[in-house]
């Protein structure tokens, strides 16, 4: 199960292994990982193997983040408000994988409804990092990232509203990819902030991410924001040739001089990033440093908070326990809703709902919500302008390796704020964005992120693929630190 999709497909085709054996191994591994790292909400014990066809994922097990609707399988969003919810329909992207013959073996834990970046707010408890149990996986696709890094299966679905695929990928030393907004249908993904939400995938190689996304993508009549991508072929576009491509990085984020109190980890992380840039140049790409107005960068985090919290309060107003979820035994219907929500949501989410309501209130909307939308537009316009000249943006992910549980509780540190939050740019613009591992700091994996213009997924993946090929981290499985 530590192999890639194409390797497994080959073995299945040649009859060296059976789908049944893979499922069995994956289930055993799931139980082990559950015990050690608490990565799952549900493990589907009675899963059977499937026929192997020409589809690369046929007969291969995979995991699904628990905020995807899966028919007849508990889907909780890792929230007590849906702790008993069994949907009667399956999300479009999951169904496409089913149709291609892939086999779901578990539902992975997440920060409640994707609203968190630590993996600590799941109703089933925190998810531990398989490289070091005292550290977090980041979030919100914590369980999926943990499972991939632990070799439970070659791919798992994630979702990404701020960085929820791409940051856990970095912390776990794996690949995390979210395609252009609308390339994957969101039908069946429990919404957090609809204008920022993306479906995506976590894998151990760029090629696997391409293969799975090729299967999942396409216009969906249930999602008006989805679009026809039949002319995009991700796997085929992985040529390993990036000669003449132009990439940029942002000086204000990458320059060590901007961090007067830099930790050792941060220094090593940024030095390592520079080495990766050298690899790009070696491969024939140009890399340039550009400068962006610091005020614009500083605004990223607050723009994100305002927009995501506002949309979240509205999106989650359906969680009343009346139609689904545990129903309150209070007598009056308004008391029932209140009781359900008071008991069901974690304090973090409630805090975000308060922020969301506040910024949407009539008297505050102009100052907060509408201004956030304007700044979002400024940031996106700036990026689009840069993408006219450059093929992609490359940046280090986070300020170092995975954080310790007692270190960070989703508190914004002014110092490294932009470094921690810049991936949200990819959500503001709906840009295709991928994280791949680029080395180790103190024996813990770190990652870089490559982001390109909308609809330019092929290019973004090919750059990541080329870089991956020049580094020894492809397919790596976590080795727990003592």
């Amino acid at each position: 199960m530590d192999k890639s999709i194409t390797e497994l497909h080959e073995l299945l085709k040649n009859g060296k292994i059976t789908s049944e054996e893979l499922v069995k191994e994956s289930l055993e591994k799931s139980k082990e990982v559950e015990e050690k790292y608490n990565a799952f909400v549900t493990i589907l014990d009675d899963t059977k193997g499937k026929n192997v066809t020409d589809s690369l994922v046929s007969g291969i097990p995979f995991g699904v983040k628990d905020n995807y609707s899966t028919k007849d399988v508990l889907s909780t969003g890792s929230s007590n408000t849906l702790k008993n919810y069994v949907p009667f329909y399956t999300a479009t992207v999951v169904q496409k994988l089913f149709d291609a013959g892939a086999i779901i073996v578990n539902k992975t834990a997440l920060d409640e409804f994707g609203m968190g970046g630590t993996g600590t707010t799941c109703h089933t408890g925190p998810v531990l990092n398989p490289w070091d149990k005292t550290r977090m996986c980041a979030g919100s696709s914590s369980g999926s990232a943990c499972a991939i890094a632990s070799g439970v299966y070659p791919f798992a679905l994630g979702s990404d509203t701020g960085d929820s695929i791409r940051k856990p990928a970095a912390y776990c030393g794996i690949v995390g990819y979210k395609p252009t907004y609308g390339m994957l249908s969101r039908y069946g993904l429990f919404p957090f902030a609809s204008s920022l939400d993306h479906c995506g995938v976590l894998t151990r190689s760029v090629e696997d991410a391409a293969i799975v996304s090729d299967i999942m993508k396409g216009k969906d009549e249930h999602d008006m924001t989805s679009w026809d991508s039949s002319n995009i072929h991700l796997q085929e576009s992985l040529t390993g040739d990036i000669k003449g491509k132009k990439l940029f990085y942002i000086k204000e984020i990458c320059n060590l001089a901007n961090y007067p109190n830099a930790s050792e980890e941060l220094k090593m992380h940024l030095q390592n990033f520079d080495k990766t840039l050298d690899l790009l140049k070696e491969a024939g790409a140009e890399v340039e440093e550009i400068s962006i107005d610091q005020r614009l960068l500083n605004a990223i985090a607050s723009v994100y908070v305002v927009i995501s919290c506002a949309e979240a309060t509205s999106n989650m107003s359906n969680l009343t326990g009346i139609i689904f979820g545990p129903r309150s035994d209070k007598q009056n219907i308004f008391e029932m809703m209140k009781d359900h929500r008071t008991k069901g949501f974690s304090p973090l989410i409630k805090r975000r709902f308060v922020i969301g309501s506040y910024v949407l209130q009539k008297e505050n909307q102009e100052r907060y919500f509408k201004n956030a939308a304007r700044v979002r537009r400024l940031i996106v316009d700036k990026m689009k302008e840069l993408f006219k000249e450059y093929d992609a943006l490359i940046l280090p992910v986070s300020s170092g390796p995975a954080k310790k549980f007692d270190e960070d509780k989703d508190v914004i540190d002014d110092n490294t704020n932009v470094l921690e939050e810049h991936l949200q740019i990819g959500n503001f613009g709906g840009f295709p964005s991928i994280t791949i591992p680029n080395g180790f700091v103190n024996d813990l994996p770190v990652g870089i992120n490559i982001t390109g213009n909308c609809y330019d997924d092929e290019n973004v993946l090919n750059i990541a693929y080329t870089l991956e090929g020049m580094m020894p981290y492809k397919g790596q499985i976590a080795k727990e630190r003592e």
Binding site: Y187, G188, M224, A310
Partner: protein, 475 residues
């Protein structure tokens, strides 16, 4: 106290006709059985998304055009956020920022006079579920959740209950003419909110506005307005106008009064924002033009045309335009060059009488305008008498045959003067004594001669012509 005038504004909600709901694939159809017309999105199951029904948008734009509103450049929707058990998502998808129509103006007829009505806006939204309250439980029926709803908001431009109701009736007719809604109040397809305030006749500032929610019949709208004007006027007379509060009341049909629900101070902040799951959609000029062409000539215009250009009475014209199918039938008659008054007589008496009695649509009537034309022509020619025409009218419908099938040699009226003169001459020659009596002054035996002619022709002699010839001969 100075003379008071009332100022009234209306919000009219009308359910639209469509195959599926406005944002879901569930059937848009009324059902007595609860929760049969539902899709996952109607019950807000997590992960479901709205998909806009283009036909509903098209119909909404048509209504916007009939009200002479301005249409937006882009179509998009907003969320109106509030908690209520009939609202599964916890928000309603509606239009706040860019409604399908704003700033409209139309003229309507009230007691044969035209008055202007100013439209604030008209917007497309989704209906809520319906609630049934019992002694200790309430049931939710999601059939109605997501049904397309057009909300029309007027400026406060009415001054009496009659004007307000005339507008509602006018609009009901517009919806029906454009075939975008059945607009049936009995099925709850039209629901209204009414704003009422009073002010001194010469005042420039409006008085305190009271909103009456959820009035579900036109009669109710009328009575609620009358009641509310009286209530406010009485308080003013008694020097207690300060007790009229800006508030929301509801119309209680049973007691015939309005009852306070909540003060405007407690008004909900709906925290509107743009619905992110529905991309902005550019409304092309070509599409608007195409839709405009699909709008039929409306009732008031037809009525004025009938009166002015065809000499109909206001009364008759009103009957003809009450229902678009009837009016279309009439216009088909005009196209066939049937005399407008004859067509009107036939439609307003025989045809409407028949279809009402048998609960038929005029379009199902076997007597098409073409057949009606034959019938009228044969009567005018004198081939058949008007009494015969009425018999044939029923026979054509019931036996589904043409007019000519009922006009045989046997029953054709004798309207040929020469032929009739011959017959009369013969009868007269056989009745010499009676002629003498007649000439001696017994003029009342004139009918005897008519009777003889009828007897001789087995009733087929044209009676008018018969009398004419007899008078001549007996001079």
């Amino acid at each position: 106290m100075k003379k008071q005038i009332a100022v009234i504004g209306l919000e009219m909600h009308c359910e639209l006709k469509s195959n599926s709901k406005v944002f879901s694939s569930a059937r848009n159809s009324y059902s007595e059985i609860p929760n049969v017309n539902i899709a996952p999105v109607d019950m807000a199951f997590p992960g479901t998304l709205p998909v806009v029904n283009k036909k509903c948008v098209a119909d909404a734009l048509k209504m916007s055009m009939t009200l002479n509103c301005k249409q937006p450049e882009y179509m998009y929707f907003d969320r109106k956020n509030y908690y209520y058990p009939d609202l599964p998502k916890g928000y309603q998808i509606t239009q706040m920022n860019a409604p399908v129509g704003v700033d409209g103006k139309i003229e309507i007829e009230v007691n044969d006079k035209l008055i202007p009505v100013y439209i604030h806006d008209i917007h497309l939204e989704e209906d809520a579920a319906s609630l049934d309250h019992f002694f200790d439980t309430s049931n939710i029926d999601y059939n109605r959740a997501g049904v397309p709803l057009l909300e029309l908001v007027t400026e406060p431009c009415f001054h009496s209950a009659d004007e307000a109701v005339a507008f509602l009736e006018h609009m009901r007719r517009v919806y029906q003419y454009c075939d975008v809604s059945e607009a049936d109040t009995k099925k709850g397809q039209i629901r209204c909110d009414v704003n009422v305030s009073i002010m001194d006749e010469d005042a420039t500032e409006l008085g305190t506005k009271v909103e009456i929610k959820n009035v579900n019949s036109f009669g109710g709208v009328h009575d609620a307005i009358v009641y509310e004007i009286e209530r406010q006027t009485k308080l003013k007379e008694e020097g207690r106008y300060s007790e009229v509060e800006q508030e929301t009341r509801r119309w209680d049909e049973e007691s015939g009064t309005t009852i306070r629900m909540r003060s405007k101070v407690d008004a909900i902040d709906y925290k509107y924002f743009v619905e992110p799951n529905i991309p902005k959609y550019k409304i092309s000029k070509e599409w608007l033009e195409k839709l405009r062409k699909e709008i039929p000539r409306l009732a008031l215009e037809r009525k004025q045309d009938y009166i002015k250009n065809y000499g109909l009475s206001s009364y008759d014209a009103e009957i003809l335009v009450k229902d678009k199918e009837i009016s279309d039938y009439f216009e088909e008659c005009l196209n066939l060059k049937i005399d407008a008054k004859s067509a009107t007589n036939w439609i307003t008496t025989q045809i409407l009488g028949y279809i009402n009695k048998h609960d038929l649509s005029i379009n199902d009537l076997y007597l098409t305008p073409t057949r009606l034309k034959d019938l009228i022509e044969e009567t005018n020619k004198g081939t058949i008498s008007s009494k015969q025409a009425k018999d044939i009218f029923f026979k054509v419908i019931e036996e589904k045959k043409d007019i000519k099938d009922f006009i045989s040699k046997d029953n054709v009226q004798i309207s040929d003067k020469e032929e009739l003169t011959k017959i009369i001459d013969e009868i007269l020659s056989n009745n010499q004594s009676q002629i003498e009596e007649y000439k001696n002054g017994r003029t009342n035996i004139f009918d005897y001669f008519v009777g003889q002619v009828m007897k001789n022709t087995r009733g087929k002699a044209n009676p008018v012509l018969t009398k004419e010839i007899l008078t001549e001969k007996l001079k």
